[in-house]
């Protein structure tokens, strides 16, 4: 199927994906609500900052940080790696291979189609957060917000591409999900999910710039809160999309090799 033909299919893929997300609304809301770690960390760090600011964050600063973290996490979550793994294990992957549409397009639209439902939860939180922390703790210029929106999409794309790469490994290796567990472990530490990265010692903070994890969370959060200069945000955006491109290329390579192997060894 040519790229143009695949593109023509995308609106219907989105529509059906949205219908699926609505059909699974119960499970979906539970899944969304399970993303509650930022709220726990918010309570903890507000206590820590009660006496005096920590690494530049006062009580409301931590509040803004973790509410932004929650919003970014809600908007950028993906489940492609588990979906791919289930498809490979069950043989359902054959259905994808028989269709003239790259399965990555299908997984992507399936994940993105759930965005409106996620937004239903994320936007009220964003409004409440803004009302609570006030203007002093969020970026006030359009440029930061513009980069922030691209950064949120980039964060989703990076997470999704990493999932595609690990998911494709399932065609070679039965325990590929354990690799994603490792990714998640590193994500929790180095993405800024559990604490702002500025709380890290200097050498470790420096190291996070070379890892993909900060671009999946801390970068869009810090940009929306105006914690990064415009120049720095633009450099981060470039680094983020370089990671997206690299991981997507890796995923495509692994998928291609994996499908060839699957076809040789049987499904």
């Amino acid at each position: 199927m040519s790229a143009a033909r695949q593109l023509r299919a995308v609106p219907t893929l989105f529509r059906v994906g949205f219908a699926e997300a609505v059909a699974y609304r119960g499970e979906f809301f539970i899944w969304i609500l399970s993303t509650n770690m930022p709220l726990v960390m918010l309570v903890l760090f507000r206590e820590v900052a009660r006496e005096a600011p920590v690494a530049g964050f006062d009580e409301k600063g931590f509040g803004a940080y973790f509410l932004a973290t929650l919003i970014v996490r809600l908007m950028t979550g993906s489940w492609a790696v588990w979906e791919m793994n289930a498809d490979i294990r069950s043989g359902g992957i054959a259905m994808h291979l028989l269709r003239p549409l790259h399965p990555f397009v299908h997984y992507a639209t399936d994940n993105l189609a759930a965005l409106p439902i996620r937004a239903l939860l994320a936007f009220p939180i964003a409004l409440l957060a803004f009302a609570w922390v006030g203007g002093g703790h969020v970026a006030t210029d359009a440029a930061h917000w513009c980069i922030g929106l691209f950064a949120i999409f980039g964060a989703w794309a990076l997470t999704f591409a990493a999932m595609l790469a690990v998911g494709s490994l399932g065609l070679f290796w039965e325990s590929s999900l354990s690799l994603y567990d490792l990714w998640l472990g590193l994500f929790f530490i180095f993405s800024g999910y559990l604490m702002p990265l500025s709380l890290f010692p200097g050498w470790l903070l420096g190291a996070t710039w070379w890892m993909p994890f900060r671009y999946t969370l801390a970068f869009p959060v810090e940009t929306m809160l105006g914690l990064e200069s415009l120049d720095q945000s633009l450099r981060s955006l470039a680094a983020q999309w370089a990671w997206v491109a690299s991981l997507l290329a890796l995923a495509l390579l692994l998928w291609r090799r994996g499908v060839a192997r699957y076809s040789v060894f049987g499904g």
């Binding site: 219907t12 893929l13 054959a94 028989l98 003239p100 549409l101 076809s263």
Partner: protein, 329 residues
């Protein structure tokens, strides 16, 4: 439409004996064995033919279908389907074929089948007018008008299978591979599915290749059968000719007005398959049918009788048993 030359598929399978020691040994030194799933198949199938693959479990039927649909790469040999090499899985090839299996489904579980139909319309880029026309025809042929708007999870197995077939055929594939399409269905539904597959083949001139463990599927649908056993082709021709070749005898079923001694039945000639108070079944040579029937009518209290070929299941089972015996010699 389908051309297959010396097609073969070998797998390497990890084997180890049971036990902890063997498990630990397999961590460092794995032993692999070559399994020959398909072993040099060659055949041609013309456009519009309906062909049945017959064979015992593990004979290589499904592996062959998977190679012809591009899911598996052959170890050696060549295959072309609708002018394409399946393993390249060219988009146009994928738009020309469909593989339907009775055990795997593409319908979206929590949505009505109509949503999967729409999805397939988009994926296969079927023009709107053609889609509407094909969909209306399939819905009518399969009698699923009321079902397509009901969530798939609420449909019975037979209803799901009908919707599955409709979803698979919306892009009007020229070649249809069916792997056990009636598995698990009741007799009425099996018959309905057979009727539909035949109609689709006749209406659209599609080539149909089918595997099934139900001989009735094969007998009703496939004028030609290809028997595959241990990956090798052991017969290619008409089903009738196969039955005549393997089992030229006839089955004579007699129903008696009163109980008859077994000895009186044996005296008619032929082999007594079953005999009880209500009747008997005899296997007799085709050329002696007339004389045996005359003897039965004159000497026994026959109320009703039936003459037919030996049951297909028995003939095929006999063929597989013969092949197995030949292989072990």
């Amino acid at each position: 439409m389908i051309s297959v030359r010396n097609l073969a598929k070998h797998y390497l399978v990890h084997r180890r004996p049971p036990g902890l020691l063997a498990a630990m040994r397999s961590v460092v030194a794995r032993r692999y064995e070559k399994v020959v799933a398909v072993d040099g198949l060659s055949f041609e199938i013309a456009a519009g033919e309906r062909v049945g693959f017959l064979g015992p479990n593990g004979a290589g039927k499904t592996t062959t279908l998977k190679m012809l649909s591009g899911l598996l790469h052959p170890t050696s040999g060549e295959a072309t389907v609708a002018g394409f090499t399946p393993r390249h899985r060219a988009p146009e090839f994928l738009r020309s074929i469909m593989l339907v299996t009775g055990q795997k489904q593409q319908l979206l579980w929590d949505l009505p089948p109509a949503e999967t139909f729409e999805l397939n319309r988009a994926i296969y880029d079927v023009p709107k007018a053609q889609y509407e026309e094909t969909r209306a025809e399939l819905v009518e042929l399969l009698g699923i008008g009321d079902l397509v708007r009901q969530p798939t999870r609420t449909l019975s197995l037979g209803e799901r299978m009908k919707c599955e077939l409709a979803a698979a055929l919306l892009h009007r594939p020229r070649v249809l591979f069916l792997d056990e399409p009636t598995i698990g269905l009741d007799v009425t539904m099996q018959s309905a599915m057979r009727g539909f597959i035949r109609s689709y083949n006749e209406r659209f001139g599609a080539t149909v290749v089918l595997t099934s463990h139900y001989m009735d599927d094969v007998a009703a649908l496939c004028p030609r059968v290809i028997v595959i056993d241990r990956g090798r082709l052991t017969y290619d021709g008409s089903l009738d000719a196969l039955v005549r070749e393997l089992s030229p005898d006839k089955r004579l079923t007699l129903r008696f007005a009163r109980a008859v001694a077994r000895g009186d039945v044996e005296a008619l000639g032929g082999r007594v398959v079953t005999c009880d108070d209500d009747g008997a079944v005899l296997q007799i040579a085709a050329h002696s049918t007339r004389s045996v029937v005359e003897r039965a009518l004159s000497s026994l209290p026959v109320e009703d009788l039936k003459i037919e070929d030996a049951p297909l299941e028995e003939v095929i089972a006999d063929l597989f048993a013969r092949n197995a015996k030949t292989d072990t010699r």
